[in-house]
Symmetry: C2
Subunit: 211 residues, 2 copies
């Protein structure tokens, strides 16, 4: 297998942390999104839309979408479990990781992309043919959505150690990547959110956080 | 179990079609999103964010996010399989259903919500505290993204009967719900996209399409 990565981007990091937790070591090929390397050959021959990350299997099968890649790894390397141990737990991990994705990762991406000069005609990920102009109004909407994200995190982490019960899971990985990504747009965990602060300290202390 | 539904909304329909395919019959409680019934009591006591659908289990556990609900149903009622039969197939279904969600469903929702008078301060789903103003620029971006969606659909369906190989799956369900939802914003399958037309006729002829 090969993993087409972008070390600086927050989304591929979700898969890298999961790989680090499971001890998965495969070749990683770095592609620079900021310079648009993903929207040119040779990467377009790997992923015609220019999206990252992409996983390539030994038989040449390729797929993108970070959660598809993470689910595939979870099946091949089930230990430690990161997607839930029972049907209900798996549903909760999926539901919570999705909230962290939508209100944390995507909201952060909207606030970042629609302001940064390098993304002036790349309002949404992927291309290369479709230039989609930045929409300045999304910066405020992204930041407002992140406020919602922090309220939800604090409310949830007041009740449990991790987002889903007492086990670190993919829901935590997505939320942790979102919190770190928000540093790029100068948003941090509100000082009053003590449960989130406690959780963030714990997840950041795991060796996988360096991934 | 109980399913909090919104018959008119495109997103809960993804779960209703999966339930129809699997013959799952449970009480369905309709909540009217257009009139904001989801942002008031008594629904807020069920889902504090006002999101739909929500699944309630017999022990009172509740979760939202349509894919969390669909995965839970797939585990309890594995026949017919709709999320893939092997690890690679499951990765492809997840990857493709996600593309259909992002470039079909969410793009449609952006184009619809940011133009409709009932959503003037509800630019993204859920509330109730956070009023997020509509952003007119998202109407054009949504429509542009849907062009991309149709190119991808046609390209994929030129090679296979359904989105992932020869089996109807969740990827088809999400794409089919997106195509039907786009009628609200007067977008239909381009006449030249003959593979997509053939596929749409087949998926629409399934009894589950009435769900």
């Amino acid at each position: 297998m090969k993993f087409y990565d972008c070390k600086m981007a927050p989304n591929p990091r979700r898969a890298r942390i999961l790989m680090a937790e499971k001890g998965i070591k495969i070749p990683m090929i770095d592609v620079n999104i900021l310079d648009g390397e993903n929207l040119r050959e040779p990467y377009l021959a790997i992923n015609s839309r220019g999206l990252l990350p992409t996983l390539e299997l030994d038989d040449g099968t390729r797929f993108d979408e970070v959660m598809a890649i993470c689910r595939y790894f979870e099946e091949l390397y089930p230990t430690p479990n990161l997607l839930g141990r029972t049907p209900v737990e798996r549903a909760l991990v999926e539901s919570y990781q999705r909230k962290a994705e939508f209100e944390g990762m995507i909201a952060g991406s909207e606030a970042f992309r629609n302001k940064h000069e390098k993304f002036i005609d790349r309002s949404i990920p992927g291309g290369p043919k479709h230039k989609i102009p930045a929409i300045p109004g999304l910066v405020a909407r992204g930041r407002q959505t992140i406020e919602r994200f922090h309220e939800w995190l604090e409310h949830t982490l007041a009740k449990t150690e991790y987002l889903v019960g007492d086990s670190y899971s993919m829901a935590d990985i997505t939320a942790q990547c979102a919190v770190d990504f928000h540093k790029w747009i100068e948003i941090s965990i509100p000082a009053a959110n003590t449960h989130t602060q406690r959780w963030y300290k714990a997840v950041s202390a795991r060796p996988s956080a360096a991934a």
